[in-house]
């Protein structure tokens, strides 16, 4: 219940944060929403010597479409995403995702950047970002770099961020016409991590065939998973329940869930299949409504 002692540094710019990270390395942890970090510190599973509070850094909470990209600042709170008319109307998959992260109180503090930077396969945004082919922008002492989402998740709790880098922005290609996405999460109760969750994104051509498909999976492997084999099944095809069932089966086969209190591995695989199938149907509905 009580965290271990640490030194507290509040920064007012990205540069300041980066400079401290460069200095302190693994001795320091970045505090944004704190809704993953602080619980870990209370159980002393994380015992950083330094906590760098970036909450007052200006200019990291933008949420806008610009130059063909939806740009989400790292400090955008989940509750902001949940309430944003832009997101609700044009990126409902992100609205779906935000709505099922933890609970409404946690969402008032939890940040989108934090949800990705934590590298937890059980967090919800990674699957959605994978399905949307997002990019992560990181700033370090050597400057800024853009990391494709497929390269971002490396291992359990390990991302491509260097110890001296700060995640500053997430970029998502603006949705083309005739596209839609959905995120479906099956959890034991509100506030839990997923038993299985799936993000599905589809783009259709004028003839209604699938030209783009993204499927991301939550809490079903050692890191957030993109179901590439399942996506391949869909490309070029006219959508149908039968097609979606096949894709869902392929996606389920690609998972490697652990057996735990949420259920045995084969059960989670079955639920993954259900979630992918239902997410694809919902994505299709939205894509067709977007024509």
């Amino acid at each position: 219940m009580i965290p271990g002692p640490f030194r507290y540094r509040r920064v007012s710019s990205v540069e300041e944060a980066v400079s401290l990270l460069a200095q302190l390395g693994s001795d320091a942890k970045v505090l944004s929403g704190g809704q993953s970090l602080i619980p870990m510190m209370k159980f002393r599973l994380a015992e950083p010597n330094y906590v760098i509070d970036i909450n007052r850094v200006p200019g990291l909470d933008f949420l806008e479409e610009r130059d063909g990209l939806l740009r989400i600042g790292a400090l955008v709170r989940e509750s902001t995403l949940e309430r944003s008319p832009l997101i609700r109307e044009r990126y409902p998959i992100l609205h779906d995702t935000a709505l099922v992260i933890a609970d409404p109180l946690v969402r008032n503090l939890a940040t989108v950047g934090g949800n990705l930077a934590h590298g937890d396969p059980a967090n919800d945004h990674p699957a959605t970002m994978l399905a949307l082919r997002a990019q992560v922008v990181a700033k370090g002492p050597k400057g800024e770099r853009v990391i494709p989402i497929d390269e971002f998740f490396v291992d359990t709790f390990v991302t491509a961020l260097e110890p001296d880098e700060l995640l500053t922005e997430i970029r998502i290609p603006v949705s083309p016409p005739r596209s839609g996405g959905a995120y479906l999460k099956f959890e034991r109760k509100v506030g839990d991590y997923a038993i299985a969750a799936a993000a599905a994104f589809l783009a259709l051509d004028e003839s209604g065939h699938i030209v783009q498909a993204g499927i991301g999976l939550t809490n079903l492997a050692y890191k957030p998973l993109r179901a590439t084999a399942a996506e391949q099944v869909l490309i070029g095809q006219p959508p149908s329940d039968e097609l979606f069932r096949e894709a869902a089966e392929r996606a389920a086969q690609a998972t490697d869930p652990v057996s735990d209190l949420r259920g045995p591995a084969d059960y989670k695989r079955a639920v993954a299949r259900t979630m992918v199938f239902r997410a694809l149907r919902r994505a299709l509905e939205r894509a067709q409504a977007n024509g």
């Binding site: 640490f6 507290y8 505090l31 704190g34 906590v51 409404p104 109180l105 946690v106 503090l109 509100v190």
Partner: protein
């Protein structure tokens, strides 16, 4: 051991203190400021008994360090009553039997206050979703929903009464 000076405004009053960085905001409120209406019910950010309104948003104060609150404003349950007048949410909980042991109640009410500030006419489903971060063991939630609906009605009535009133 490092101590950090902080200045926090709670229920309209400004306090200064020197605290350890690791001091949780809920302990600052309860043990340093002696405002014991905010409660602790778990250690995994699950129960919401510690909910306060921080810069306008309801948050779980057990998962915030007091140092983060430097220079900010907090509203706790003790700040709901003004000049001897109960807040409509407090009134609603009393009228509709929205509490039994009272332990989850402060946190539940703060969440309700924030909800109604944003959504003055929530449906039952919206209310239940809004309080899904606050656990109650006694009431089974039915009367909590009624309490919040009561408060919503009362606040809407006084809002319309205010408009064009004498």
């Amino acid at each position: 051991m490092e101590r950090v000076p902080i200045t926090v405004t709670v229920n309209g009053r400004t306090y200064t203190a020197e605290v350890e960085p690791r001091l949780l905001l809920v302990h600052f409120i309860r043990d340093v400021l002696n405002l014991t209406g905010t409660h602790i019910g778990c250690d995994t950010t699950s129960c919401g008994a510690c909910t306060v309104i921080w810069n306008g948003r309801p948050v779980k104060s057990c998962t915030v360090f007091a140092v983060q609150a430097d220079g900010t404003e907090i509203l706790t349950v003790e700040g709901l009553e003004r000049d001897g007048q109960l807040h409509p949410v407090q009134e609603g909980f009393w009228e509709e039997h929205g509490l039994q042991c009272g332990y989850c109640t402060p946190g539940m009410m703060m969440t309700a206050v924030a909800l109604l500030a944003e959504n003055p006419d929530p449906t039952e489903e919206e209310i239940r979703a809004a309080i899904s971060g606050n656990l109650c063991r006694c009431t089974g939630y039915v009367n909590i929903v009624k309490a919040i609906q009561y408060a919503a009605r009362k606040m809407r009535e006084s809002a319309t009464a205010g408009v064009g009133g004498a």
